[in-house]
Subunit: 135 residues, 2 copies
DNA sequence: TGCACCACTTAGAATTATTCTAAACTACTT
DNA sequence: AAGTAGTTTAGAATAATTCTAAGTGGTGCA
């Protein structure tokens, strides 16, 4: 399929980020293939396997920048651990408490009714539903 | 109202926890008055004001024990910060992202429909709804 | 094409939240 | 009153993340 391979540099530029070697390497790991959940540590491990040198600090920087640019979504499920989700569309999460696994599920079948109005002076940012399960 | 003043020692004993001076002091701060949200730091500050010596390590221990005993519920909203909620009944949360505030709202008006079945081999633990808002 | 500028990356130190360790203490049982 | 197991404690240790200051490298412009 010529021409269909995603141009990560262009995608980063479109998000207002300079396409450096390490950001492109990180984007490739994150966005080629299907949706993923990563932590800074796990992503650092993966990108190091590509032989492009990327420090852990850069992984943290990039994850925060990607999130701010809307390329990733941050999900906080347990104290001291946050995941970044490459799926930025509407969806919710299963969290398997017993082994720290996170799974997406689509939100199109899910309806939430009866939510109260946001406290005055605030506007809605997003509604997170986390279904906690255990083995 | 004679006889209605809550006996914190008895309450701790009922939860299987020895009612030590510091646990009783913490329970008093937490459970007298209405529902509260605290962090380890904020609770430590409050209990120190009662002039009963309680170390921060003990605050962490007690919060974890109270949670395990079902006296508190832990809510994780932001990376590196978790709140303990004295309201253990069914309810959900507003989280004001811009200033880190957490507010309860009752779940009796809220209905969630269309949730998928838990992944096989797991059973439901709890469904958290966090409505994120910003100023 | 070469160069300069400023954004970016980096190693390591710093920070923050939380847990651990080992010794001292104390509530409960006998 | 004394024994003993459960608790508390200060301080060290750990873990996740951010900061700092110096070096590197895209980018736009000559």
């Amino acid at each position: 399929m010529p021409g269909t391979s995603p141009d990560f540099a262009a995608r980063l530029r479109a998000a207002g980020l300079r396409p450096t070697r390490q950001r492109v390497a990180l984007a490739r790991v994150l966005f080629e293939g299907g949706h993923r959940h990563v932590t800074a540590e796990s992503l650092h491990g993966e990108v190091r396997a590509t032989r492009i040198p990327v420090s852990l600090a850069t992984v943290y920087n990039a994850l925060n920048q990607f999130r701010d640019a809307g390329l990733l979504r941050e999900v906080v499920v347990a104290p001291g651990k946050s995941y970044f989700d490459t799926n930025t569309g509407h969806h919710h999460h299963f969290f398997v408490e017993t082994d720290g696994e996170l799974h997406d599920f689509p939100s199109d079948k899910v309806t939430i009714a009866g939510l109260p109005a946001p406290p005055k002076g605030t506007r809605l940012s997003r509604v997170d539903v986390i279904v906690r399960v255990r083995r």
